[in-house]
Symmetry: C2
């Protein structure tokens, strides 16, 4: 390393990397040389958007630029935040990219598509016989004859450029088509350049996979917190926003459309693919998220009898959706009901439970909890208002599964040990940590089966006594200190309280009563279940043992339980890669019966019953 | 009639009417009280558009307003033109509406549809079961189930308003749909309000019929000269304009789209129909006109091997077409080739020649001459570069079939007698007059079978001698004076010249050689033909006898010849009224073989041969 080169170390969640750059580069330029880290910088490094915030280990406050003083809060400055575009790399430094928006902890499914690749948007290179006086077929007929697709639908905008393209290309072109619609005609052979994006629109998190339709590979993944979150944490509050604000629906719709646009732009840029080679965007999400994407009125979803505008699979040109910077076809998976959405259809598809002889149980724990039970003959599903407790909402120190969250908790020598996402200072506790916490408190005997934190004089077990001694915080309500203020990112204790336990009780009761109701409806017993799939971003990180310990899933099914991750994104990708998969979603819909819990007395009884934890 | 009321007499082509109005009204206001006359006044009477030109019999020049001085030429002012919005009706007056744009002489087909009415766009009143917890179907499914149409396609824009409409209407709505696409959902029962427009886009004339889809009636018709005419008289010159000018195609496309928009607006307004009850616009026209409407590149049509972009029947939402003020579906009939367009498909449909056992011959004489020969087993067609002679182009005093044109000529006591359109002063001669003129000159013996006007010493027949004496104009080239300057509108002699006869020879040779070529291709003789249909605006007014006299149609077929008028507009209307008709157009296309004349040696020989007239 000579005088003119400088080395920087970059940490981004679990990723860590050593970079070299020119001494005169800005940090933004340095980070942009590799495509591992995505730094948002919509102003292009002019210091006018304030988006490229990173933590610089040896930042010097006195060097802050005007735009940094404008865009960084006092707290951020104290934490070492800088704008990457304003930092000249003139010495070795450690950079932490710590952006909740861009770093929601979602596993990327960088894997190849298994199955017969028959992408939703196909490309076919064709050499057309050039026209002559003895072959006067018009351009459109010449193409449809060669493609062998009768009644091909061609948008007028494409017809307007068709003849020029054919003539420029000497009649050797690549047809881009989806089903019986011709989407594009490109000069020469571009069969290998065929990309799509599969988007899972979660209430909390949005994940976008870049798909190479030619290779069947998921090339790259970006994710971020759903930007609608600021206008409502859950589906009901967003629907209420639509009802309350005259332009509410448009505002929410614009937010998600522009977020997807930015994610797609980022995927296209950092993978250096030709913009015109992106042809489709397949979306899945809960029914409300799909309404908000398309700008269809979600009001009917919010109140009984819970009627959505539309549950069908559909496809629209991007121009119909709104202001979208790519000329692509938007498709979505079909949904089952107002509260069992296209994300669950995708989950059924991804787990293939609709093709199995044995009984499977799918539990998707996100902001809501959706449950599906069944096999190739019949599927039952329901949605429980599990609430977003497992996503950290309504939990005193709860947070999403992002950088700094306590994600696992264990007991070692009667002392609480934890890990955090990104191995950073603890900032709060996320879903998997919450379940671990309750599990430990239950099993140790600090909390009884009713969910009550026992008084000191009630505690018998030595482990419990020791736990209380070390972690009970008299001063902070009835709570346990998981991480003291001295080590926390926030400078305050990270605690877990009696109230938090009550929230978990409500959530787990909703899920387990939902499972029991579906079993009763199907006339089956727990022991009949051959597979349990825990889905959702959260589902990937949960400790199955802890989940069974608190009664979230039946303990006897532990050996048959697997985490399947974000099946919504996976299912959407599988539909993009295979028209057969996409079409089979309609079979899933026909196979699936929705069980409405709000009017179900069996569920209500079970819900009260399941409020208690297992006894230890 | 009291002091405050004034009577005006209005002449508009063949229409004439007495109106009464308030003494303070402007002439524009007076004319607008009846829906018989359409006065263009896009500025709404402010004097800023200059479009409401009319001739006022007792106009007083000294009263001309500033805007009249701006918009009226010196010649127009001399002829008595005024802007209707600037004229206060303070005395009795005679008003002549003399606008070529609005008064092209086209017969209006104000007749009911004969056949099974199954309009392209249907309306069906449905009462949907309201949703409940035991019927949670989404809005879209609720409609599709009740309509009984599976896989109904619903545009996103409609889905966005759907739930509000359903709820406002208490689930009693009228579905508007075309095939498997839902176009609209209207509150309550609006089945009776279902209108469409059928448009024939001729190179010279555009005709629009307002169709009542509920009654199957053609309600009203407007027509006007194609506004693209100023940028090219025929299809080739318009295509050349597209090639020459960078924005040429867009300019021509905008012209026809805005012209149709204005015609539709006029039909909607003067028939006082609700704008939202207009759902479809069915178009027919030659292949170039269809390209120019849709903005598809016509360049390939102009030169061998004559390849259009598209000949198919198609439908587009108006927003795809361009800036169109109605939310409607545009449809077009399919075409046969670059020079046998959708207008001819419409002609075949209208004459039903594709369903007959006997052999029929269809000759559509417009700016080009298209010929179809055949029966239910097989149709042959061709297009001849007949040139626009029969539309008055390239004829010394030629003009379209509009106000002031000499449309019939006869001999009385060896003197030329004529009639004019609108019984006005002669301004020129249109197609039917041209054919009469040649017929008279031929039969009288003034012109020999080679088309030459004989020298005085060669003339033998007394009629001819007398004709030459009375009408031959030595001073004005080898020409005949049909109407002397003293009576003409233009102040110059209306003449018919040797050169004009040559133009007619070329045109009639092209047609008759085309007929002969199709007969030869089909292996048939003239005597096999059971029906001859003369179509085109011009075809309605032609004297069959004169046409036979000059050899335009075989004399032996005279008893089997009928004028069928504007079959393009008729066919388009029939397709709007009946999906079966629309679909049968594709059968017509399959049944029809295009015969390319440009490379046909038989045609070329026949063309030279048929240049001569019959001998008398």
């Amino acid at each position: 390393m000579g005088d003119t080169r400088v080395s920087i170390r970059v940490k981004h969640g679990a990723k860590e990397m050593e970079l070299e750059c020119a001494r005169k580069d800005t940090l933004l330029e340095a980070l942009s040389t590799v495509h591992v880290f995505h730094i948002d910088a919509s102003c292009g490094g002019k210091g006018t958007c304030g988006k490229c915030k990173v933590i610089v280990s040896n930042s010097n406050d006195s060097n802050l630029s005007k735009s940094e003083l404008k865009f960084l809060s006092k707290t951020e400055i104290e934490k070492g935040y800088r704008l990457a575009c304003q930092v000249k790399v003139n010495q070795e430094m450690v950079v932490i990219i710590d952006d909740q928006e861009k770093d929601a902890q979602i596993e990327a499914a960088h894997e190849g598509f298994k199955g017969s690749l028959e992408p939703l948007v196909k490309k076919k290179y064709i050499e057309l016989p050039p026209p002559s006086l003895s072959d006067q077929r018009d351009d459109v007929t010449r193409i449809t004859d060669t493609l062998g697709i009768e009644e091909l639908i061609i948008p007028l905008s494409l017809k307007r450029t068709l003849s020029k393209t054919l003539r420029n290309a000497g009649y050797s072109v690549t047809a881009v088509y989806s089903c019986s619609t011709l989407i594009g005609v490109e000069e020469g052979n571009t069969e290998t350049e065929n990309y799509g994006v599969a988007v899972d629109i979660g209430t909390t998190t949005v994940v976008a996979h870049l798909l190479n339709m030619y290779s069947g590979k998921i090339v790259d993944t970006v994710s971020g917190l759903n930007r609608q979150k600021t206008l409502g944490a859950d589906v009901i509050s967003r629907i209420e926003y639509c009802i309350r604000e005259p332009e509410g629906l448009k505002t929410l719709s614009d937010k998600i459309v522009s977020q997807i646009a930015e994610m797609v732009t980022s995927l296209v840029k950092r993978n250096r693919i030709r913009e015109g080679s992106l042809h489709s965007i397949m979306t899945a999400g809960n029914t409300t998220m799909m309404h908000l994407l398309y700008g269809t009125d979600p009001e009917g979803i919010a109140a009984a009898p819970f009627i959505p505008v539309d549950l069908q699979a559909a496809s629209y040109h991007s121009s119909e959706i709104g202001n979208f910077p790519f000329d692509v076809t938007f498709c979505n998976l079909p949904a089952i009901s107002a509260y069992v959405g296209a994300d669950i259809t995708a989950g059924i598809l991804a787990t293939k439970m609709h093709k199995k002889d044995e009984l499977s149980l799918l539990i998707d724990i996100g902001t809501n909890g959706e449950i599906v039970l069944g096999n190739k003959d019949k599927l039952y599903c329901c949605s429980t208002a599990a609430g977003p407790a497992f996503e950290g909402a309504h939990i005193t120190c709860g947070m999403g599964g992002v950088f700094g969250a306590i994600d696992t908790i264990s007991l070692e020598d009667n002392t609480i040990k934890y890990t955090t996402i990104g191995n950073s200072k603890p900032a709060g506790i996320c879903g998997s940590g919450i379940i671990d916490a309750v599990s430990i408190l239950l099993k140790s005997g600090v909390v009884d089966f009713t969910g009550r934190i026992l008084e000191a004089d009630e505690i018998e077990k030595p482990t419990a006594k020791s736990l209380v001694e070390k972690h009970f915080a008299e001063g902070e309500g009835n709570s346990f200190i998981l991480a003291p203020s001295s080590v926390s990112e926030t400078g305050a204790n990270i605690v877990f309280t009696q109230k938090d336990i009550r929230e978990v009780q409500l959530a787990k009761a909703a899920i387990s009563a939902g499972v029991a109701t579906l079993l009763a409806t199907a006339g089956k017993n727990t022991s009949d279940i051959a597979h349990v799939y825990i889905a959702g971003g959260f589902g990937s990180y949960i400790s199955k043992e802890s989940a069974a310990a608190i009664g979230l899933i039946p303990a006897e099914l532990l050996d048959r339980t697997e985490s399947v991750g974000n099946t919504s994104g996976k299912g959407a990708a599988e539909c993009s890669f295979s028209r057969e998969n996409y079409l089979s979603c309609n079979d899933i819909i026909k196979l699936t019966e929705y069980v409405e819990l709000s009017s179900n007395t069996y569920f209500q009884g079970k819900y009260m019953e399941d409020m208690t934890f297992p006894e230890y």
